[in-house]
Amino acid sequence: MLKVEDTSVPVEFSPELLTQFADVASRYPKGKQKSALLPILHLVQAAFGWLSAPAMDKVAAYLNIQPIEVYEVATFYSMYFLRPQGKYVLEVCRTGPCCLVGAEKIMDHIEQKLGVKEGEVTPDGLFSWRGVECLAACGYAPVLQIGPEYTFYENLTNDSVDALINGLKAKSNN
């Protein structure tokens, strides 16, 4: 697994990824290609699991902007990971309406089930978890999401969380 300080590992963008970049960039007027930055960072994170400095530098070169312009965006928005995560990142909503119906207990349960604290990765590299702010799904609370497609899991109970985690484990072992 990559460590944060492993910034010397070269990053290559696949031809498929570059095609996706070009498609995104074509949505904005000429000379305004910087607009494609947020969507492109999502694509990079989906491909690599997180945003390393070399990956961000390559994005900067692709969009013809300064690396600092990429860093300042990547550090501002909460969805971008600046260090490696588990293969599955369970993001549990921890804001008011979800807490009214038990989100805090769900987070305690996830911590216990996975055996790692918020932000840490399980030894097998499969899981990490964190509390996130309102996911705009208050009517289906408690909720969690898993990237890169951000599938929602709603009306969580301890049992449904167990089933979800066990299911993901089984999927990865096959």
């Binding site: 947020l38 804001t95 008011g96 208050c138």
Partner: protein, 452 residues
């Protein structure tokens, strides 16, 4: 039973596809607008409808449109604000998920009215499934000739794109959203200039909420005047209310504005009352930013009149005894909820989401979070309540954007209405760690006001 203008066909199987949506009369507003109306006539219809921005501010949409500058040889943009992240609000997600073509139809009509040829829907990044749904729907609409070059042979060109955000509440503020759409941090801009003069890429821009744009479809189909007949007073039309928290039937409901609050909360057509047979303690009526009200003041105004779900009735009494309709994010609290804990939770949210540009908000939200944390965890002081009110007053009105106000109001209102519960957390600190203050007197009938 209220009329359904937006959600009428929401339960029709396959309504998320172009074919089924079209078979239910979809895209008729595009045909009517592009073939029989001029852009100015559409703006006039929206003005007549009395539609007010559904994102939270409640500013008249038609008036916002009429402010748009129209210099020659300069592009104009329409940007849809789908960065729904106000705690308690999940109506836009619902709408985009189940009936995406309604938003797209609204975008085409609105873009035509404003003279935009490229429009964007800025969707919060966490809503990746809804982004995929919208992208598919856009492709279908384009395939059917409702987007792209020379729409329906009228000579009007429009390209519509979906743009994902990166996870930042502040990007729901329209100028922060534009910064974000330009690939920058979501720091709100100083106004003026307003986006209507200098918005996206410095060009004249209108930013509207998902529900506002969707509402343009029935307004064009039925006429602005018909739309304005629904509702009460200056609260015209229907509104999506997303109900959550401790209600029996959480979900998204379309109501005629002016529906009695009690009916909305207790009738089986809507929330169905409080879950698990408990009693109502408090309500946040329009998203976490609006003042929280105890049960008695939510159901009745200070003059003992029934409270209605409308802009005016909910704000009756100002911030002393009223609140706001806001975004329609309705959160009910049952008798077992702790107001101190919830206020701390909301304040942590605002501290987390402050962009950090203005000191009062960046620092103040953090201070309030710390003070509320110590109150909740048994280390509070009697002077903390005045301290919190003092900090909130120093944030309110002293920031570039309304996030500062949004962070200040929940704290000030919680202390205004629930001060005895806060004080109990100080006087009975160890007891407060093991049990809640309960319903107390918060649902008691209001005392009759003495009038001079």
């Amino acid at each position: 039973m209220g009329r359904k203008l937006l959600l009428e066909h929401i339960n029709v199987p396959g309504i998320n596809t172009f074919a089924v949506y079209r078979s239910k009369g979809g895209y008729a507003a595009v045909e009517k607008a592009l073939k029989t109306l001029s852009p100015d006539e559409i703006v006039e219809e929206v003005k007549k409808s009395g539609l007010r921005g559904r994102g939270g501010a409640g500013f008249p949409t038609g008036m916002k449109w009429s402010f748009l500058a129209k210099p020659e040889n300069t592009a104009r943009y329409l940007v849809c604000n789908a960065d729904e992240s106000e705690p308690g609000t999940f109506k836009d997600r619902y709408l985009m998920n189940y009936i995406p073509h309604l938003l797209i139809e609204g975008m085409i009509v609105s873009s035509f009215a404003l003279g935009a040829h490229v429009s964007y829907i800025y969707v919060r990044g966490e809503m990746m499934p809804q982004i995929r749904i919208l992208e598919k729907a856009i492709a279908e609409a384009k395939n059917a000739g409702f987007l792209g070059k020379n729409i329906l042979g009228t000579g009007y060109d429009l390209e519509l794109y979906v743009h994902p955000g990166g996870g930042a509440y502040i990007c729901g503020e329209e100028t922060a959203l534009l910064e974000s759409l330009e690939g920058k941090r979501g720091n709100p801009r100083i106004k003026p200039p307003f986006p209507a003069i200098a918005g996206l890429y410095g060009c004249p821009t209108v930013v509207n909420n998902v529900e506002s744009i969707a509402a343009v479809v029935p307004i064009i189909n039925d006429g602005g005047e018909e739309y304005s007949k629904i509702g009460i007073g200056r609260s015209t039309g229907t509104k999506l209310i997303s109900a959550g928290g401790n209600v029996k039937r959480p979900g998204v409901y379309e109501i005629d504005l002016g529906l009695p609050a009690e009916e909305f909360l207790y009738s089986d057509e809507y929330c169905g009352g409080i879950a698990n047979g408990k009693r109502l303690k408090a309500v946040v009526a329009g998203g976490s930013s609006v003042p929280i009200l105890p049960a008695n003041l939510f159901l009745k105004t200070i003059n003992n009149e029934p409270r209605l779900m409308s802009y005016e009735s909910l704000s009756d009494g100002g911030f002393v005894s009223g609140t706001m309709l806001g975004s329609g994010g309705f959160i009910a609290f049952d008798e077992d909820q702790c107001i101190v804990r919830n206020t701390w939770n909301f304040t942590r949210f605002y501290h987390h989401e402050s962009c950090g540009q203005c000191s009062p908000c960046r620092e103040g939200t953090g201070w309030m979070e710390k003070v509320l944390h110590r109150l909740e965890y048994g280390h509070g002081k009697m002077s903390d309540m005045d301290l919190l009110v003092d900090v909130s007053k120093k944030i309110e009105g002293n920031t570039i954007c309304p996030l500062g106000d949004a962070a200040a109001w929940p704290v000030a209102s919680a202390i205004r209405h629930f001060r005895d519960e806060f004080e109990w957390h100080v006087t009975n600190a160890s007891e407060a760690l093991s049990r809640n203050y309960g319903l107390a007197h918060y649902a008691d009938p209001l005392k009759k006001l003495e009038t001079a």
